[in-house]
Symmetry: C2
Subunit: 453 residues, 2 copies
């Protein structure tokens, strides 16, 4: 069925049932619905219909629904449910999602909900709340299946029958030693093709790849992605299993990081998920950057005053200012884009910094040469002055070379200091690059014209 048409039809169906308070039809409707779709439909209902729908849903369905909503909507649902029902629902939610939700609530409210929850579930959530949000520990769940190496395939299968409903994934089974050290992993696929009496020891894969709880979430996500795993175990310093990261959470991390990169590239400075906010709030968020840039703009104006003599002597130079600044910015951005991509897919790393800098230096030189020859010819024809062409073209050569090198070096330096190199395309560095190029332009022009005027 085509996704969009289906959604529209189903939405209409649901609303008509809700209007008629046809609880039976609502039940049948919900039974086959995927939680994501339920979340979408819930989100589009008015408040009265939302509350009516909540009374029909069972606790486990609300648990599924909550995972699909954003924080604001989650809070709304929690308030509508009341404390007791909320605790019921949280018991049924995956521990990592409960932890994420509670981390966003104020502390007394979160503590209250934890005491209302079942002790076992609350303890799992508390264990997860200890880890910072953006680490492997922060995105892991402790609802995994662990087995012992001495077990037989038959024992494991009957154990799985019991565990399957609550575990986040049953497709990878982690093999522990008696002190809970991680010693192996078996896939459900392997279990399936082995005879019942085989012991796990014989079929497990011992070279388990795991990550420490304090690893950055992006790094952990890349490891899972690289190995095409469905889940990745997280261990403590004694190699004891703490939890697992599942592929769906990894996709979310990778998307979040990509969006963060795009936000960095455009410096909106919004880490918030909401696009629609009050204009005053939005303006307040963007203003600090802009005021900083205004101050830099004033400083640039101040620096340009130094060249007033040159400007007076050769006012035509002004006409090419936008071109010089623009071209330098563009070559810098090209190198920057290349380096960011190289760093993100590990093609550029410490061992080949020299090689990439040399390469970009050559590229900058070639680009500079071609563009300056081009501009010398253009200006010589248009302004009928080879001298002016040489001044502008010569400056262009140096600013392009510098632009390429700045675009190469800045992300590498930031990367060395463990700063996300995408911030390098932010307005601050772009603006500084503009200023630098104009200084070089007028500086060189000032040197040149002594011989030309």
């Amino acid at each position: 069925m085509e996704v969009k048409t289906r959604e529209l039809e189903e939405m209409k169906e649901l609303i008509s049932y809700l209007q008629q308070r046809d609880l039976k039809s609502i039940r049948t409707f919900i039974d086959e619905l995927h939680p994501y779709d339920l979340g979408q439909y819930f989100f589009s209902l008015n408040e009265i219909h939302r509350r009516r729908l909540l009374t029909v849903l069972m606790s486990n369905e609300i648990a599924d629904l909550l995972q699909e909503l954003d924080l604001k909507e989650q809070k709304e649902v929690i308030i509508a449910l009341g404390a007791k029902k909320t605790a019921d629902v949280l018991n049924l939610m995956p521990s990592d999602d409960t932890a994420d939700l509670l981390a966003e609530l104020d502390d007394t409210k979160a503590q209250k909900l934890l005491t209302d929850m079942e002790i076992g579930e609350a303890d799992k959530v508390r264990a997860l709340l200890r880890y910072p949000e953006d680490t492997a520990g922060g995105i892991m769940t402790n609802e995994y299946v662990s087995i012992f190496r001495s077990h037989t395939v038959e024992t494991v299968i009957s154990f799985l029958r019991k565990e399957a409903p609550t575990a986040e994934t049953v497709y990878y089974l982690y093999v522990l030693d008696f002190d809970r050290t991680l010693v192996g992993v078996v896939s459900l696929r392997d279990i399936l093709i082995s005879s019942p009496e085989t012991t796990i020891d014989d079929i497990m894969y011992e070279r388990v790849i795991s990550v420490p709880a304090d690893m950055d979430q992006e790094e952990a996500a890349q490891i899972l992605e690289r190995y095409d795993f469905l889940a990745l175990p997280v261990v403590d310093e004694h190699h004891r299993l703490l939890g697992i990261i599942t592929v769906d959470d990894v996709i979310d991390v990778l998307i979040e990081e990509a969006q963060e990169d795009i936000s960095n590239l455009s410096a909106v400075g919004v880490t918030d998920k909401e696009i629609f906010v009050h204009p005053l709030l939005s303006a307040r968020r963007r203003i600090p950057w802009l005021l900083l840039l205004l101050v830099i703009g004033m400083a640039t104006a101040n620096l340009l005053v130094l060249f007033e003599g040159t400007m007076d002597a050769l006012p035509v130079l002004v006409l090419f200012m936008p071109m010089i600044a623009g071209m330098t910015g563009n070559t810098a951005t090209q190198s920057l884009g290349l380096i960011i991509r190289g760093l993100s897919n590990q093609q550029v790393s410490e061992k080949n910094y020299r090689q990439i800098i040399r390469q970009e230096g050559f590229v900058g030189g070639i680009i500079g040469l071609i563009c300056s020859v081009f501009i010398i010819i253009m200006i010589s024809i248009w302004k009928n002055s080879i001298e002016l062409g040489v001044v502008v073209g010569g400056s262009l050569f140096f600013t392009l070379l510098i632009g390429t090198l700045v675009g190469t070096l800045i992300p590498l330096v930031l990367n060395q200091f463990k700063i996300d190199p995408t911030v390098a395309s932010g307005p601050l560095i772009t603006t500084l690059n503009d200023v630098l190029s104009l200084m070089v332009y007028y500086g060189l022009a000032t040197l040149f014209i002594q011989y030309l005027l």
Copy 2:
């Protein structure tokens, strides 16, 4: 084990075995190695060692290895293997990966390899080669497990035992009708917890979410991501199952698209995966953009000539040119970043275009007001001239308002024409924005100074 230390140690181990031609140790070493790691190590070996290692590897291991290599390395391996062995290896590779590899080879070579392969395998690959690379059909595999609704859980399990080694995933089983229409899906988890005599009909989930083969790969990837699936079925117009898309391929698509966005944002114009290329080639790729921008730069210079009168009368205006252009560019980029993010996570769509344009218009007005008041005060103090402050500040107000609106409207318009809105941050539009802002600046200044001088 810490990933990096382990890699270094293992690499040394492998090289020493290869130098000593210790085939037995190499075998033991490889047995527990993950294909990704094997690929990494293979990549770092010299050519002699690579060839030596290939002689030790079994066809299925080479098949795993090939999937981890990039095209250039894959070709190198194929040449080293010879036609016959290559066909053996391709038989063992997942059909979608074989199709991707053959699509990159020249046609006669690909056809030759297909005729050398087993008929069944070659047919599967031919079926996949029909779909364009960037569609759902292009990233799907036809090595899935399909079952019939009348089967019992017991039959399915024994069937799975046989199919498990070749299927890409056994965790989702697709239920077909007799005409191969997709009627349901069952997870291996559900199979596990059901009693052996249950029929699939009773436990299958009928509301299967599927995509057509011609859907854009990014859209298909987003659907899988949204529903947290491990695989997504691809169907033809009669809803017959053609193949499945697996989560690991989806992650690759999402990363590829994010990198494409970053490349667009920096306009390197390189779709190639290689970072290290000959400087001349790299320069040739970047030059076309830059020459276009040079021409625009010349045109800008030409337009600025129109304002020479104003420049002569008030040369101090020149000092603020970089600031005006920079600030306009930055506000435009901020709005652009917001809209791109909103479009990518579906928060902005046709139904709220008006709302977002109104919001950004207000934001632009507020930002313009604050920045221009700030700059009026700054210039009045610094240059001791309220008039100059008003000219520059007034221009800044309008250019910021225009910048915000341009940054909002351009990605929306591009999106309407089905063009990726990230190209809007490309150098062309940035440059046009610069020119526009300077025209407004000098245009307004020209109007104002008639009353001020």
